[in-house]
Amino acid sequence: MISLQKINDILSDQRPESLEELAQEASFVTRQYFGRAISLYAPLYLSNYCSSHCTYCGFHALNKIKRIKLSDDQYHREMQVIHAQGIRNILMLTGESYQHTPVKYLKEAAQAAAQYFQGIALEVHPMRVEEYKELFAAGVDGITVYQETYDRTRYAQVHLSGYKKDYDFRRDTPRRAAQAGMRHIALGILLGLSDPVTDLFELYEHLAQMEKSYPGVEYSVSFPRLRPIKSQEFMHCDVDDMVLTKIIALTRILFPRVGINLSTREEPKLRDHLLEIAVTRMSAGSNTSVGGYALLPEEAQDPQFDIKDERSVAEIIHVLKSKNFDPVFTDWRRIENNV
């Protein structure tokens, strides 16, 4: 595996020719293993109830926002809107609350989603193996869980209370999900929260460990990043576009077959260019508020993060095709999951 020093050298190398060389290599590897296929998905926020206090998150427990949890009828309406846009892979999210969004609730939501979508993934609070097994049997194939930062000190500084405070339980989540049979597991770090060199090194170690222990899982990684905004005093550093590009290119070279996600947190221009280098999965037509697709008017919405790429699914498809990419809606056909 790559050394900490080597990652540092690559990320701090300012020469344009080094960056171009890195990007060229990443692009070659991406085309070899993924062709020009880009998988599309959409997030669906089910609930913003949260019992954790993470300083960087709009949903955190102490934030005075309107708390909503979608009812059965409500998430059906949201799913119908997303389905009508052509999306077939859904990522369902909640705040971290065992109390408000227990396994039973998530199972019911997954069973509803199975009526509309082929790929169902969850980004919710970490759970135990038995709970993941129940969800797998209910049709959930993927789990997304970001460590945010692998630096224990920083982790403790930004995760002040709640379940998420438990670093080790979170770090071990991908293993438990894999043990339960999940097909797709997404890892990630929140860039800007801590030193990117160390975090990247630790993420690579984690991913390599997972690949070795659970080779049958399809892995993907995400690099969401915090951007400097007033009042975000928890930011550690600003990861600019240049560094983000290097991180994404380097990840592709080291992990040729791993999916790389890029969310609508990023500007359209950057997203479009990073597709040429290494990104293979993107969300489209996203709304990051609970009830944001069909239920609430925009002024009543409290998004988890602000969306920079507001293009609709149809627009994204158009852009992808014009750039000779093949937008992929289904990369899985749901079968009965036996535990």
Binding site: R31, Q32, Y33, F34, G35, R36, A37, G86, R88, Q118, R183, E211, P215, G216, V217, E218, Y219, R257, K321, N324, F325, D326, P327, V328, F329, T330, D331, W332, R333, I335, E336, N338
Partner: protein, 262 residues
């Protein structure tokens, strides 16, 4: 060696080039490549078939007359491969199935043991089963017994374009197995496909190389011609491939010498 036609499950194939349909830029380029090379058999991953969306449905872009083989990509064990195959049949994709059981997302190597199990179940259900496998003689024999229609050994890792890294082992399958041997995976250039055919393979399946080429239709055509050339070379009994004893006996001829009289 006679130029007998390639027959799989009673169906005759004039072209010995089979094409996978993943990784193309768009459906149009895929369709053009299929037409240009004259392939009569294509594989499609069920996971990529969007039944509901007609415009995006890959099946709408496959010319009539081309045999569709659905693959079980995404299956991690025999049970999942069987479920995917049944789902493919129920979705109207026919009963020709390429079994791919892969439980390693890093190397994408097939699991031979699970592949045998899935072949057995699906062949008994009446599927025409084309199992993708790591070239191992015992596995190939078990696949024959399980009712496979062909055996599809890998040349090298999927998508690696490394060519016939398993050459010697594929040769053993060619010599010992009576089913058609279709070399699949890792074939990155027409010369590599020709090599497999010269060795005596019955057909070659390629995908990544063609789909990611600058001009997929042109490369697909080049593959088809190289495969035809390689097959002709095999039929010609290439001098370099002769493994049986030669007519002249430079090493043992002395045994037949008439002893000189003293």
């Amino acid at each position: 060696m006679t130029n007998s036609p390639l027959i799989i499950a009673g169906k005759e194939f004039k072209s010995r080039f089979f094409l996978g349909t993943g990784k193309f830029k768009n459906k149009k380029e895929m369709a053009e490549a299929i037409t240009a090379c004259g392939t009569q058999l294509v594989t499609v991953a069920l996971r990529r078939i969007d039944i509901e969306r007609h415009q995006e449905n890959i099946l709408e872009h496959i010319p009539p007359g081309v045999t569709l083989v659905t693959n079980t990509s995404g299956a991690r064990n025999a049970q999942e491969a069987v479920r995917i195959a049944r789902l493919a049949k129920a979705s109207g994709c026919g009963n020709w199935i390429k079994i791919e059981v892969i439980n390693d997302s890093k190397y994408l190597l097939p699991d031979n043991v699970e592949t045998i199990k899935a072949t057995e179940i699906l062949a008994a259900e009446g599927f025409v089963v084309l199992p993708y496998m790591y070239p191992d003689l015992y596995t190939a024999r078990a696949l024959v017994k399980a009712g496979a229609a062909t055996v599809m050994p890998l040349g090298s890792l999927i998508g690696s374009n490394q060519g016939l890294k398993t050459r010697e082992f594929i040769k053993i399958l060619i010599d010992e197995i009576d089913l058609p041997i279709i070399v699949d995976a890792g074939i990155g250039a027409p010369s590599q496909a020709a090599e497999a055919m010269e060795l005596g393979a019955d057909a070659v399946l390629a995908n990544t190389a063609v789909a990611t080429a600058g001009d997929p239709a042109l490369l697909a055509k080049a593959f088809a011609q190289a495969i035809e050339a390689g097959h002709m070379a095999y039929l010609s009994q290439l001098p370099t491939q002769r493994t049986v004893a030669s007519a002249s006996s430079p090493l043992t001829g002395f045994l037949y010498d008439i002893p000189a009289k003293n």
